[in-house]
């Protein structure tokens, strides 16, 4: 146990299940049909976090850049897989560019933060790289899912307008520019909104964790500012790059729209 942190005994941790039970109760009372999801989510929360705790302990002990990068890529793949699962459109294939772009963009953002801003030595130091990378991936995964789902649904809903522009001589990029803008905006807005609320409405997880761990609150705040800006940048880059890449897959050769 760290000197500054109050330990949570196993039976007290089990007490936290009362919140999952409350969620299950709401689902039952209001016939939300979410009981199974809440149960699976709770089990996964325990299993995945204990597994990650064990893996992190191992990675910290081995202290190898290859292991850190390998774990980051596994996390990026899981993030891309989760984001893909939230998108309902099945007519367009986009798995490979999505996985590759998410891994590349978020790796670059995480290296920039640990190497240039926090200035960790070395830049892949697992105690910094993996938590920071996890925050980038977790937040951006949601923005990418929102952006792509919006892109696909708008291209279907506004197919007549997109076709009209094509018929007037627009290329695929010009014909779908409004839909791309709307999709990227939808992906970015949650992270921008959280910048508005931070410190007033919410004390974010990283800052709370550092304060609970006994850090100086002003240092915790500096870290949190970096994290907030990093998340806005990552969501902007992630949603923009992926939306632009995957938009191309919504058109067949000859700028023929595939969604209508």
């Amino acid at each position: 146990m760290d000197a500054g942190v109050i330990d949570i005994a196993p039976w007290r941790l089990a007490l936290a299940l009362v919140f999952a039970l409350a969620a299950g109760g709401c689902s039952l009372a209001l016939k939300l049909n979410l009981g199974r999801d809440i149960l699976i989510g709770t089990v996964r929360t325990f299993a995945q976090l204990f597994l990650m705790g064990w893996v992190l302990g191992l990675v910290f002990a081995v202290d190898s850049p290859w292991l850190v990068m390998g774990l980051f890529l596994i996390m990026a793949t899981a993030a891309a897989h989760t984001a893909r699962g939230r998108i309902t459109e099945k007519a367009i294939t986009y798995a490979l560019p999505m996985y590759a772009s998410m891994a590349a963009v978020y790796l670059l953002v995480t290296i920039t933060v640990t190497g240039a801003i926090i200035h960790a030595e070395p830049w892949w130091k697992p105690q910094y790289f993996l938590p920071i990378g996890g925050m980038v991936l977790g937040n951006s995964m949601n923005s990418v899912a929102v952006a792509l789902d919006r892109l696909f649904s708008d291209l279907r809903a506004r197919a007549a307008v997109v076709e009209m522009k094509l018929c007037l001589g627009a290329d695929a990029a010009e014909a779908s520019a409004d839909e791309v803008r709307a999709a990227v905006r939808a992906g970015m807005i949650p992270s921008i909104n959280s910048m508005m609320a931070v410190g007033l409405v919410s004390l974010p997880g990283m800052m709370t964790g550092q304060i609970l761990g006994g850090s100086d609150p002003t240092l915790a705040i500096r870290y949190q500012i970096v994290v907030m800006l990093m998340i806005v940048g990552a969501t902007a880059l992630g949603s923009s790059i992926l939306t632009l890449i995957i938009r191309r897959r919504c058109f067949a050769p000859g700028d023929r729209p595939l969604l209508r």
Binding site: A160, L166, C167, A252
Partner: protein, 228 residues
């Protein structure tokens, strides 16, 4: 199937097209429409008349055969150039948010317009006047127009790209008599005065007043001339 003694402007050669669900729309279809002709294409609802128009502007791709513009396979043409040469007017008119002026000038915002000079307000107003929309100010929001007025606005916008051919998909099906007359008169004028080719899809009987149309009928994937 070709009209006698005339080089084709728009042509289908052995075209086969079936929807993903497997419904056959065109089965080894041939069609040759001479430059400057006015083709009336009839057929029952769902026969594939709209699909045929969409093949000409490459919004659909045939599974076999070739679609040609002035003898050239359209897959060899840049899509934007093809679609400015062959203007397709959708059955349901689509407008963008903004004024009539913004809608009319939309084609000039695209790269394909190059350095083409934009028509001024006088030219735009004259064009609307020719389509019996002279009373609509250029500053009016397009969203406030009736369906008939939107169809005329879309026709005016298509004409501003100076196409060689007009593909009209049931252009009068939802229009009031005044709008229908204006649209058909403009199509006839495009053909007679401008020398352009018109393919007009209709499932209803329609007799142009000023041109002698070619007539073709589409049924069970087969095209047949009813008047050539």
């Amino acid at each position: 199937m070709s009209a006698p003694n005339a080089p084709a402007h728009l042509a289908l050669e052995g075209v086969r097209f079936a929807h993903c669900a497997g419904r056959l729309i065109l089965d080894n279809a041939d069609l040759a429409v001479p430059r400057g002709a006015f083709l009336l294409l009839t057929g029952a609802s769902g026969a594939g008349k709209s699909t045929l128009l969409r093949l000409f502007c490459r919004l659909e791709e045939p599974q076999a055969g070739a679609v040609r513009l002035s003898g050239q396979d359209i897959t060899a043409l840049p899509p934007a150039r093809l679609r400015r040469a062959v203007a397709y007017l959708q059955q349901t008119p689509a407008v963008i948010a903004g004024s009539l002026r913004e809608n009319l000038l939309l084609p000039f915002r695209f790269k394909a317009a190059g350095n083409e000079p934009r028509p001024d307000d006088t030219a735009l107003a004259a064009l609307l006047e020719s389509l019996a929309m002279g009373d609509a100010p250029l500053t009016q929001e397009a969203a406030t127009l009736s369906v008939g007025q939107r169809q005329r606005l879309c026709l005016a916008r298509a004409l501003l790209t100076r196409p060689e051919a007009l593909l009209l998909d049931e252009p009068t099906s939802a229009l009031d008599p005044e709008s229908a007359r204006a649209v058909l008169a403009a199509a006839e004028s495009f053909c007679l005065d401008g020398g352009g080719t018109v393919v007009l899809v209709s499932h209803a009987e329609f007799a142009p007043a000023r041109v002698a149309p070619l007539c073709a009928h589409l049924e069970n994937g087969r095209l047949a001339w009813t008047r050539a």
